[in-house]
Symmetry: C2
Subunit: 335 residues, 2 copies
């Protein structure tokens, strides 16, 4: 039997026990359960204990006074007052959408926030309103800048979305590491190996041991190109917004010495700014690419977001199976 | 002896002979000679004959009536009327800068343009005015979408720049192919081999033969991630602006059946929208990263744009040595 609703209720209850107001608890539970449904377990319930621990240790503020400053009709700034990231990001994307609906473009910079889960989750809010969107956020050190043997950049995703005027939006949500840190973390928890070529141990040697990889550094995609993209994201979401940057974002699992002060940047645009027939154009674009001859074994050329949507549909009415350690976490957090 | 100035004069003369007005000839010559100085020969004089051929064949309009439409205080649209790309892009970036200076953000979409040379060249115009900038452009088919054996995306660069409030701006200008198509083209002209793993021949087999690679497909960085980024750039610069997209941009060297109708998108922001001390913050960011322990053999961790600037300084007062075929081109074009 599908346990999505009961799990969501449980997560809301746990957050309320940890002093979040009802509305904020709901926002967090929605995002976390959504990550489970799309199969992004590294961004789902496996993080719940961490969020609650950070609230207990007073490095996440469960009752933030979030300040929203209007800079122009198109631009807003949010000081999240160390709220849990989900709440800051939810307010942020909603303001970017409002601004874009009014003026054609909406830009929102957020500081003093925390880990907000999946970028694509916020991008989807914009594409649902038929808007084009960029989401940037930085993250704790995981990737070594090109030329260095010490990690400093987060896995710093680049996230871009556009409505396709069909059921499934185009949502690219790609970290600039070869694989997501969350996946390495899950592998470490479950004792699984990671692929070759994605990480070095702390001595700078290639490793397939997930625990050693977490102590070492992850490799960026495409050498200096990926390193440059990670640096760009750190500048946009950290330097530009007023958030932490340059390796100062604390690891939420290991470092309780203070708030993360992560920065996020959302940029939203109306698709019909320059053309009257964007919906026709994007459909034609996707059609042309899907029609291309495929390499052996490939059934369909998918656009970014289609795979996730397939997982969502497949899993929506299924039972979410939880590993024993997470069942244990939930029990303790609800005690 | 330095021949930069005389070469620039010669290129201006050649463009004027091909019916461009003096001002436009100067804009083109500046961009082309700049590419030579920074060592991007694939975007320099090696393309001059192609531009002139396209003018002769009436697929570049030497006397365009460029229309500039103000959509809002922040947003402008440019219909380049099949101008040479340099001219459209020069007007475009200048308008994006003006809009950003006035409102904090400037967005400019350009359609009916052509190949504009190096994205970083336009980004630099914005960083010189102490502005943050994105430049997107699409290009003729060169990269196969993930899952396909036929190329469709251009090498579609992602270009991001920020002032560093030091002599050298941070300018990331990275194609999403493993190497630039221009470099393969130069290798094909000079009979050199290309590295392994960057391209497939027309039968889908890996090749190090530059000519075979040009007939085949280039590989995107990082598989589906690079393919997704190339698709994003095609949407932003083509679908969104009104330019050609989805593989319809013609190869400027091989296809004279009509104008390219390339689209460009420029997005410019004031760095102090959210923080009062951006200059201090970006300097601190770069300092922290440069201080990291380096891997063996690396003297300095460089930020994107530093290498190009080094080449610029080194070459500025040197003679530009031209291969025989380009000397020949120049002679014929000036005849």
């Amino acid at each position: 039997m599908n346990n999505t609703k009961s799990l969501k209720r449980l997560v809301i209850k746990i957050f309320k026990k940890h002093n979040l107001i009802n509305e904020h608890s709901k926002i967090c539970a929605e995002a976390i359960i959504n990550a489970e449904i799309v199969g992004a377990h590294s961004h789902g319930l496996s993080r719940l204990k961490m969020y609650c621990d950070r609230i207990k240790k007073k490095v996440i503020n469960p009752r933030p006074k979030i300040k929203i400053k209007k800079i122009s009709k198109s631009i807003s700034q949010i000081d999240a007052n160390n709220s849990i990231g989900f709440v800051a990001a939810d307010i942020g994307i909603k303001h970017a959408i409002i601004n874009a609906k009014k003026t054609g473009i909406g830009l929102v910079g957020i500081k003093n926030s925390g880990h907000y889960g999946l970028s694509g989750y916020y991008a989807e809010q914009a594409t649902k309103k038929n808007l084009i969107v960029f989401c940037f956020t930085n993250a704790p050190p995981a990737i070594a800048p090109h030329g260095s043997k010490k990690s400093l950049f987060g896995t710093n995703p680049i996230c871009f979305g556009t409505p396709t005027f069909s059921k499934v939006p185009f949502i690219l949500d790609t970290s600039v590491s070869v694989i997501n840190r969350g996946k390495i973390r899950v592998a470490a928890r479950t004792g699984k190996k990671i692929p070759e070529g994605v990480a070095l141990d702390k001595y700078g040697k290639p490793t397939t041991n997930a625990k050693k990889a977490l102590e070492g550094v992850q490799l960026p995609i495409a050498g200096f190109r990926g390193s440059g993209l990670a640096w760009m994201v750190d500048i946009l979401s950290g330097v530009f917004t007023g958030g932490n940057h340059g390796g100062k974002v604390k690891d939420p699992f290991d470092d309780f010495s203070g708030p993360q002060n992560i920065g996020h940047l959302f940029f939203v645009m109306k698709p019909n700014l320059f053309v009257g027939n964007y919906s026709k154009r994007i459909k034609e674009n996707i059609k042309r690419i899907k029609r291309l001859p495929k390499i052996k074994g490939v059934k369909e050329i998918l656009y970014p977001g289609q795979n996730k949507q397939k997982r969502y549909k497949k899993n929506l009415n299924k039972k979410i199976n939880l590993p024993a350690n997470i069942v244990e976490d939930l029990k303790k957090l609800n005690a």
